[in-house]
Amino acid sequence: MRREQLHDLFEKYYNAETDLQQEKLLRKEVRQSDEFAEESDLFAYFGQEAFVPENLENDIFGQLIKKETRRKTIRMRYIRIAAAAAVVLVFFSAYLLKPKNLSTRELTADEQFAVLEQALSQVSYSLQPEEDDDLLVVFQDENFEIVMN
């Protein structure tokens, strides 16, 4: 840029008539010139104040995804517990409402054990979170869970 053009642009800058693109160009020109000492320091200061950490967006996005995954896991757990409770309630209600005069056969000890085992495994299965395609449970205990997707 010629010296006169640069001076014209500075005049516009001090009249607040420049757009952001022109101001960017002005800063670039000043960096390459020895003539504008005050502006050079002013622009360097503005640049320093406008500093933004390099990985800001990635850090923030990573946190957003992590929180979203956590919420999803908690939501899924509530749904499964509610489903398990509903199954137990249905079976319990069916047992209570069973007609008294219905003829039933006494179960042998082995049959009773098999029925009990099947019922427990069904409840256990419904409480156990299913494998999710986009979730990998790395560690889990009563209070803490680490998941990856």
Partner: protein, 175 residues
């Protein structure tokens, strides 16, 4: 709005808003937390963002309100913890000291401007906001913003010139 759309349309605001929020909080860690909170609010609304006519204006307004909340919570300080740390850990080189001293002069000049001049020059020359965005933040009309900005830039240049002249011994007036 999908995660990818959010990444393209909303996430760049984190970078745009960082210097302004950093100036309010004077601390990088708190700034990052504040921006994280703001982005989380926007993330929760990402489905409704698509239905808006002007998403940018909405985000900007939300950022403004977020900053107002932060300002209510935060007491103003001149030097933040990070700046103090930088000053304590300065390398023992004359060049760096000169550089920092110059920045400190400029900072003081800007800090001592009347509030509306200071706001406008910071929004434009540090944050790089458009005049319409400054209007959203300050409530001033664009022609008035131009007047304030023009005067603020002139005042800052004059004061910095005075400091340099004083340092060179060409004038006896101190800043």
């Amino acid at each position: 709005m999908t995660s990818e759309e959010f990444k393209i349309q909303v996430l760049p605001w984190a970078r745009r808003l960082y210097p302004m929020i950093r100036r309010l909080l004077k601390n990088d860690a708190e700034t990052q937390d504040a921006i994280q909170d703001l982005m989380m609010k926007l993330w929760d609304k990402k489905d409704s963002l698509l239905k808006l006519e002007n998403t940018d204006a909405y985000i900007f307004r939300m950022a403004k309100n977020h900053c107002l909340d932060l300002m209510k919570k935060k007491k103003p300080l001149y030097l933040g913890e990070d700046e103090q740390l930088k000053l304590v850990n300065l390398p023992d080189k004359e060049g760096n000291f000169d550089h920092l001293e110059k920045f400190d002069h400029v900072r003081k000049v800007i800090e001592e401007l009347p509030e509306k001049y200071r706001q406008v020059i910071q929004y434009r020359d540090i944050d790089g906001f458009e005049f319409e965005e400054i209007m959203e933040l300050t409530g001033y009309e664009v022609p008035y913003i131009r007047v304030l900005l023009s005067r603020a830039r002139g005042m800052v240049k004059t004061e910095v010139q005075k400091i340099y002249s004083y340092e060179k011994g060409t004038t006896s007036r101190s800043f």
